[in-house]
Symmetry: D2
Subunit: 131 residues, 4 copies
């Protein structure tokens, strides 16, 4: 079983983006990002890459929490609206898993549970164990 703190410490890009994992279970994860100036793009809204990175962290945490290395092979994101709040959450849930592949849905919403974006991703499960 993954140790959330060590998982976060190792992911330097997630740390740079100020992302924290709130809860991680096999097939499930909740990640959080307090919106700061560093996340904004040229028109003062959260950059698409920041929103994607938050979702991707939840996706990676949920899919690797089984203890087997799971590599993201593709992802798709739909942006619904610019966030109005101060925090973004990404909640990843497993939709289906087979021996080598697994599919996740990630809802991205603000502190008022307003849906901001939706992400879907697929992992390829390697034979290696997560250290």
């Amino acid at each position: 079983m993954i140790n959330n703190t060590s998982f976060l410490k190792n992911d330097r890009f997630a740390a740079l983006a100020g992302i924290e994992l709130v809860k991680v279970e096999p097939g499930y994860a909740l990640a959080k990002m307090n919106i700061e100036e560093k996340h904004l793009n040229g028109v003062n809204i959260v950059q698409g890459g920041a929103t994607f990175t938050l979702a991707d962290c939840a996706f990676a945490a949920a899919s690797n929490a089984y203890g087997q290395v799971a590599l993201g092979i593709n992802a798709s994101i739909n942006y619904f609206q610019a966030p109005q709040g101060k925090v973004l959450f990404a909640e990843a849930t497993e939709l289906h898993a087979s021996r080598r592949l697994a599919n996740y849905n990630v809802d991205i919403y603000d502190e008022n549970k307003e849906l901001i974006a939706q992400f879907t991703g697929t992992v390829y499960k390697k034979k290696d164990k997560v250290e």
Copy 2:
């Protein structure tokens, strides 16, 4: 016409990620990211969010370079292999544009032109001008 330097200065998340725009024209952009420790994930490869953010910057630059505000409404990325090199480039080209929508392909490759990932994205063009 967009001023590349000001466009980059305004995008604080792109700056945080160390992304620079090499060339920008209406419907085309080339972005670059020198791979540093801050881009790595828990297993020491470039985080999916960093690769996505690089592609998204090229996509945003190319689509906003016409001078009309273009908002990304969705994007899809396929990861092919972990980068072996020291630099990542993202090259965005417009596939099709209508009055309100436009579609882009973004190839992500390293300094040896090895294809690392592919991104496709759609923008919705607002009536506002890019400042």
Copy 3:
């Protein structure tokens, strides 16, 4: 409000594929396809295009049921497993809608509620009314 029977009569490709609409409401639709030999591919499983077409019909019915013409601008499908049953259902629900765009999720499952595939799609809403 759309008349389900006329909507189906007009969609000749849906008719060719043997797809029927079970329920249609603004922002929601349930479509059904009895699996027949004509839906199978070279390895005797339901062709990806048949599964996609079923999902696309539910997506189109749900998004056009507001009475305003809604054109699909993109769609993404993840295939989880080959259907084991005799029937496929596609259930479309609206995730978010703005003035010009709307996003849908479509779950594709068999008669045992086993999830077979997941589809997401975006429509662009025109000013024209559905006849």
Copy 4:
């Protein structure tokens, strides 16, 4: 090596949709569909499912032409414009292949080489040989 004629005979949904394979090589395929009334939707344009099915056939032919069974695990399609011509072509090319996965781009265009839609897809390669 796959026999194009037998491949088409076995895919009953492709046959139903009137799709023919023009050229098939490992990692490449060109498929064709003469637009007929049966392909149209309720507003008299080619149904999204028909366009997708055409692209999916080219994708399946190209990826299975190596002789190893390749299953489509996901696909994404962007629709650019309604076809004005009488014929649709789908041209699939391999972007990248590893031992278990491969990624394809499929351009869908009419007889005037006007780009109608773009499709990307991923296959999972099984150990089984194509019969």
